[in-house]
Amino acid sequence: MNGIWKTLASVGLILTIAAPAFAQQLKATEDVRTALKLLVQVSNDFKRQISNKNFARIPHEYMEYTEAADALRAAVKDEPADFKAKVETRLKAAVAAYQKVSDMSGKETDVDKLMAEHAKAVTAMNSLFDLFPAALRPDPNLPPPGRGGRRG
């Protein structure tokens, strides 16, 4: 029993040390962090426009999502080719998922259906985020930057 605890503690220690070490290995850590935050920000904008029934704005949000995706491509441009290829595959899948929400919003006005499609897009985005160390991934539960919230 004692041995199991020792093994678990060792694994935990290795993971704790390895995650920041991997984050440091990335060439442009801050650029990656910013790009991932932008993807989450635009995803949240999609959600807000859907819940406000402001469907006309959704194609614009999709355009911004592609711009945030380009920011991530730029942030990983100096990384090893195999890592870039993995990022590109999952990024393309995420962009395609958000495009589907955008395309749907042109015909569909059912908020629940659009929200369900958005949830699928978030899953695709999270799969992309799994490629990056936890320390760089934005916490979706954190309040938005700045003051946030309604103040008057």
Binding site: N52, N54, P145, R147
Partner: protein
């Protein structure tokens, strides 16, 4: 001979009378001039890069001052446009909702809006000039649809 002396005396009395009227009037005029010189305050506010936040999100100015506010859109990646809109206390949400269907464009005659800048593209700068209202806390926000919820702040107007 007789006529010269009283005439001189008469003139000097008139001069004294005029001077006694002119001096207080001149002083009063100077006071009025001093009171009409409005304090000018320059304020700078920026977007937090491409994020939906103002930096700083709190501004302060004295009441009655002429405010020259510059907004700098510091975005690099996203094509989102921003502006800066100052409204009466308690009116931010209502104004934001009303302009939402019109791409966030502020109508000229909205009495709830105190001041606003034009919409600004990434990297650009826009300005607003207005007289600071009565002391109080006034909300400001970006009127691009969906931005105001996160991108807002407070202008503290002091006495």
């Amino acid at each position: 001979m007789h006529s010269r002396v009283p005439r001189a005396a008469h003139l000097s009395r008139r001069s004294l009378l005029l001077a006694s009227l002119a001096i207080p009037l001149t002083i009063a005029r100077c006071e009025r001039k001093r009171a009409s010189i409005q304090q000018v305050v320059d304020l700078l506010i920026e977007s937090d890069g491409d994020f939906l936040a103002f930096k700083p999100d709190t501004l302060t100015c004295p009441t009655g001052a002429l405010i020259r506010l510059t907004f700098h859109h510091r975005g690099k990646f996203l094509s989102a446009r921003h502006d800066w809109v100052l409204v009466l206390p308690g009116q931010m949400e209502a104004v934001d909702k009303d302009v939402e269907q019109n791409e966030g464009i502020i109508p000229q005659n909205d009495s709830r809006v105190i001041a606003w800048t034009p919409m600004c593209d990434k990297g650009g700068m826009v300005m607003a000039q207005f007289t600071a209202p009565a002391p109080g806390d006034y909300p400001f926000f970006c009127s691009t649809p969906g931005h105001g919820e996160c991108m807002n702040g407070i202008l503290h107007v002091t006495a």
